[in-house]
Amino acid sequence: MPALLLTPLLVFLLAFFVLPFGVMLYESLYLSLVQNPAGSAMTFANYTKAFGDAFYLRVLLQTVALGVAVTALALVLGYPVAYFLARTRSRRRHVLLFLVISPLVVSIVIRSYGWMVLLGRAGTVNTLLQALGLVERPLPLMYNWFGVVVALTHVLLPFMILTLASVIEGIPESLEDTAAVLGAGWWSRFRHVILPLSMEGVGAGVTLVFMLTIGSFVSILLLGGSDTLVLPLLIYQQITLLNNNFAAALGMLLLVLSVVLLYAQARIFRVRGAA
């Protein structure tokens, strides 16, 4: 009975995913005691509040914008590395592979402190820039969007690279060779052969990195500032304010965002002519 083998996973998912999800959905439909000490009937108030208030709307947009920025950066930086990783015949390939996944080897807190050491007002980068006379006063590299984007791109890049590399590896090199002989320079080969055939990898990488970005918390907490408020931080704030029900509604928004993207991924990133 192979189905029996799935049971542990199903039980696990039921206990730690479906159940909490149900609770969250339920809670999001009621007002908290903080909001309404008398208790309330079922309502969409939490959702109308999230969409009706310019402040919360801005947080929502900032979350999406951060996701787009980090994803785009990871894609642009990661693609060439993934391509190289997929095509190299070097015996030192495993060294490169280790370098690629190295950000994941270090704990998130330590990694973030590493970035603080590098990006702080008196950090390595600013010291270096000042020593070279490139800037007079320290640049604000941290406690703002810049620091957040840098730190998130760094840690999420491995996901993008590995996803892309495995797909690119599956594209026969003979296609590139043939395209070259037929007159395609490197850009045309990328544009007309490699990129279209790696679209599924692009889709998977983009989805993965985007979802991880809009759900990330610690890096933003440590490297962000007062204006880098995104959904996970807002949810955390609301929970500390004992406003669990509004937090649940925001959590649902985050989830819907991911699910919509997941759904779109399969339709947008397709390889033509595939079976």
Binding site: L182, A184, H192, R272, G273
Partner: protein, 372 residues
């Protein structure tokens, strides 16, 4: 016929002292080759002998360690792949799976920014030429092996390449289709009048298709010549063995007569080999006598002209159009003889029969005694 794909430039190709090493492997060594305009030349050799590497060097996909690639009188070493104006058909066809037949075929022209109207017209003609009209909107996976093959050819020919490079293009097809495609490929090549370099490890295919064959072994060309030349007058034991089947008798020159050389085989038999006026080896030189199985005459003892080897039939293999006799000479050598299965000569000999084997002196070749 002057179709869109019928305006080839008919370039000649010359390789001068080409060498390429991969780590410890000398893939190509000191290779010289001349291909005349419009000729169909095969690179033939066993797996790993450097055929693909040679082809890729011509294409510009591999940079040689030494030597020159000259196409149409122009040194191409520093010309990048996509500016060489060649055509390549790879073993797996390498059709772009995400493009339709039409998009595949027009790829080269689109890369050259040809005018859309021009592209459409020439593509139509090319598809007609390879009999693919009506399939232009299919994707490669929706085509049979033979159709994919023809798409790859059309895609190549549409850019009017100076040279057509083919790397075992028929390797993935079954025998019947393979033979049909051989005929098609050859007639297409002749019709277009294009210079073609064809890589194969199938000697029969090379014999069928080529104007000339270059037999390769361990990165070197052993012999270049017309098919009958390679078959009838192999210059090394490797060539004789690789093309068709061949009997070898190792021995020593013991005497010379006008037009022939007498050899005593290591087993002690005395045989004659017709020798060219020049280059007959001196007495005492170790040589190898090579005779094709179909040139051997197997007869009852005492019936044949000398020199003749007494032998015993060890096995008889009936293959339909012919009978193969596996023989063991009294002096120990193993031989194989073919007898055409014609009406005049029904299968007569049984295993164990005592026979004599002989051959016309001119049917045997004298080869230098170097292994390999």
């Amino acid at each position: 016929m002057s179709t869109a794909v019928g305006r080839s430039k008919m370039a000649d190709v010359e390789l001068r002292a080409i060498a390429k090493r991969y780590g410890a492997v000398q893939a190509v060594a000191d290779l010289d080759l001349r291909v005349e305009p419009g000729q169909f030349v095969s690179l033939l050799g066993p797996s790993g002998c450097g055929k693909t590497t040679t082809l890729r060097i011509i294409a510009g996909l591999v940079r040689p360690d030494a030597g020159q690639v000259i196409i149409g009188g122009r040194v191409m070493n520093d010309v990048p792949v996509h500016h060489r104006g060649l055509g390549l058909v790879a073993q797996n066809y390498a059709l772009f799976p995400h493009m339709t037949v039409m998009e595949n075929v027009t790829f080269g022209l689109r890369m050259r920014n040809a005018a859309p109207a021009d592209i459409a017209r020439r593509a139509g003609e090319a598809l007609e030429m390879v009999r693919l009209t009506g399939l232009q909107d299919r994707y490669p996976r929706q085509l049979s092996g033979g159709q994919q093959q023809r798409v790859a050819l059309a895609r190549c020919l549409l850019v009017e390449p100076a040279v057509l490079l083919l790397d075992e293009p028929l390797g993935a097809l079954d025998k019947k289709l393979r033979e049909a495609m051989q005929v098609e490929l050859k007639s297409l090549q002749r019709q277009v009048g294009i210079t073609a370099i064809f890589v194969t490890h199938d000697q029969e295919e090379a014999l069928t298709l080529s104007d000339r064959i270059a037999v390769m072994h361990q990165g070197r060309i052993q012999q270049v010549g017309a098919p009958h030349d390679i078959y009838e007058r192999p210059r090394t034991r490797f060539v004789a063995e690789f093309i068709g089947v061949c009997n070898f008798l190792e021995g020593e020159v013991v005497g010379r007569q006008p037009g022939a050389v007498m050899i005593r085989t290591d087993g002690g038999a005395l045989v004659a080999v017709g020798a060219d006026a020049h280059g007959a080896p001196a007495e005492g030189v170790k040589v190898v006598v090579a005779v094709r199985p179909e040139k051997l005459v197997v007869g009852a003892p005492g019936t044949s002209h000398s020199p003749a080897l007494p032998a015993r039939v060890e096995a008889v293999v009936y293959v339909g159009t012919a009978v193969h006799y596996h023989l063991r000479a009294a002096t120990g050598e193993r031989l194989i003889a073919y007898r055409q299965n014609d009406a005049a000569a029904p299968v007569a000999l049984a295993p164990g029969a005592e026979v004599v084997v002989s051959w016309p002196a001119t049917a045997a070749r004298l080869l230098p005694d170097v292994s390999g």
